[in-house]
Amino acid sequence: MSLSVSGAVRAVGRVRNADLIRFARAAASGNRLRTSLLVLAMAIGVAAVVVLTALGDGARRYVLNEFSSIGSNLVIVLPGRSQTGGFNPGNAITSTPRDLTIDDAQALLRASAVHRVAPLAVGTSEISFGGKLREVIVAGTTADFLEVRRLSLAQGRFLPAGDWRRGASEAVIGAKVRDEMFGREEALGQLVRIGDRRFRIVGVLAATGQGLGMNTDELVVVPVSLAQAMFNSNTLFRILVEASNREAIEAAKTQVGEIVRLRHEGEQDVTIITQDAVLATFDRLLGALTLAVAGIAAISLGVAGILVMNVMLVSVTQRTAEIGLLKALGATGGTIRNAFLTEAAMLSIAGALLGFVLGQAGAAIIRQLYPAFPAFPPDWAVLAGLATALATGIVFGVLPARRAARLDAVQALAKR
């Protein structure tokens, strides 16, 4: 099958891919220290991306979980207008916002999209029992508060349903208050003094641990009318509204706004926030944080890429004679470039895979240490990390590979 020169110009084939990979692998394993350092550098970069995004995304999930534990389908009414729709001359005259009252809260029950309503009056007071004294946060509310906030009871019962303007002198206490005031004693049925009034303990809230917003473990819940009397005020801190379902949240928000506006002489002097809006804000914020962290981690991948370039350049210098030989044996510039690119790509892939495993292991360790923290790296970050590792390895491998391909065969062969 001897070819003539003219035949050779056309008929000589290209290197098979399998041979290219085998050759690159042999070249990479030829210098184990160099290869392992390179793989390690790439692995650290990818592992950093995986672990850091796991932390960032874990934080995001953690916050979202905490929020959904506050209660679902929640619409919250705050007194005062926090967002202004431009300057209104009328505002300059009637600048004081009207307070939210129990009547306002009760009126909201008329809205079709509203399922439950819980008024909330909050203040601090002291609880005393058997010579012990403790400062507590007193929340004045109604029976539906338990459902709206998705709380559960450890003992006894919650406040009874009934007229919001009247309430029996009964209190429900948080788990921590129970522990500190009563210790091993039975708390249910005990009479305690809160401020200057006496209450009977009828229930104990289940412990929820540290959470966002109000810590219910240190809360004392009393009927809203008694709380207002205790704090000598007839205003509410918030009105918590539960929409009929998730789809009804927007409708509930509109209806609530309309009802309050009518009751407040046509003035929109409350702020209505939905849990979704708050969640979306946090979601965006922490999502951006995760992205930023991923970006920072990606810098280490860039550094690894530069390392790939450096190592491959050294490799080209060390293997100059070999490159010259390959050219003499009929390798085209393209073949030599591909051989070096394949080697760089293989090293990058090996590093990326090792880094992926290390990163996942790191995230798993974090989850083991902090079970409450869902440190799962998001898929997009893992894919982006692997892709960046591969891309940097190859991009930074191009320069050395081109240099190898362009080596002058005569000079390369002259070098031993």
């Binding site: 020169v5 110009v9 000589v12 098979r16 041979d19 030829g30 009929g330 062969l413």
Partner: protein, 234 residues
């Protein structure tokens, strides 16, 4: 007259070393027929290595034409020249130039790998080459585990595995003792008797004298072109 295997006409090659110009080859005209056994001789710096690189398509002349098997190869692209090297030219170097991390068998197979020959075909041809060159027991040895003579035999097996028309040997015995060098040169001469054109660059007079034709280079020019009549008529 049949077309010559190699036909060099008016070849010029100049190197720039800083400010000075070195005329490595000046106005060289050489014809070499297929099947010849030629020794290129001359003192160092006479341009014999440059000539060999040129013949091997590793270097391009600044002027003149080089026809290989009737085709002007100086006009070919770099990739086309690589293909011609792959299929038509075998190199044997003074320092063997084996790839240290590859076994003897793998080194021999390397030109076929580069040419994309199928693995089954490769194995067949490597096995035959190992047998022909008495390297059967050395197939899995790496170059550092081989003697100088064995290394050069691996290199010659590699140079011939693609069945080239032309073998270029640059001081093939330069790194070997006399007896081993003798073995190696006999191998090359055997290939020549089989029809391969053999061009040996050497400054060993004894070695050069064995060739049928000696090209004596001096200062980049062909100083003398001697034929050994006796060998030719034999």
């Amino acid at each position: 007259m049949a077309t010559a295997l190699i036909e060099l006409v008016g070849i010029e090659r100049t190197f720039h070393r800083g400010d000075s110009e070195v005329h490595a080859l000046r106005h060289l005209n050489v014809r070499i027929a297929a099947g010849e056994y030629v020794a290129v001789m001359g003192p160092s710096g006479s341009g014999k290595s440059t000539l060999l690189n040129l013949l091997g398509l590793l270097d391009r002349p600044d002027a003149g034409s080089y026809h290989l098997e009737g085709r002007d190869v100086t006009t070919l692209s770099a990739d086309q020249q690589a293909h011609v090297r792959s299929a038509r030219i075998g190199f044997v170097f003074q320092s063997f130039h084996l790839v240290p991390r590859l076994t003897a068998a793998e080194n021999i197979a390397l030109p076929m790998v580069l040419a994309g020959v199928a693995p089954a075909e490769r194995a067949l041809r490597v096995a035959r080459a190992l047998r022909d060159y008495g390297l059967e027991n050395r197939a899995d040895h790496r170059p550092e585990q081989l003697s100088g003579g064995q290394r050069q035999r691996v290199a010659i097996a590699r140079a011939t595995i693609m069945r080239p028309a032309l073998i270029l040997a640059d001081e093939p015995t330069g790194n070997l003792d006399r007896a081993t060098g003798e073995d190696v040169i006999r191998l090359l001469e055997e290939l020549n008797r089989g029809g391969v054109t053999l061009i040996v660059v050497t400054h060993d007079g004894g070695l050069g004298a064995r060739a049928h034709r000696q090209l004596l280079m001096e200062d980049g020019a062909l100083h003398d072109d001697r034929w050994r009549r006796a060998e030719l008529s034999a």
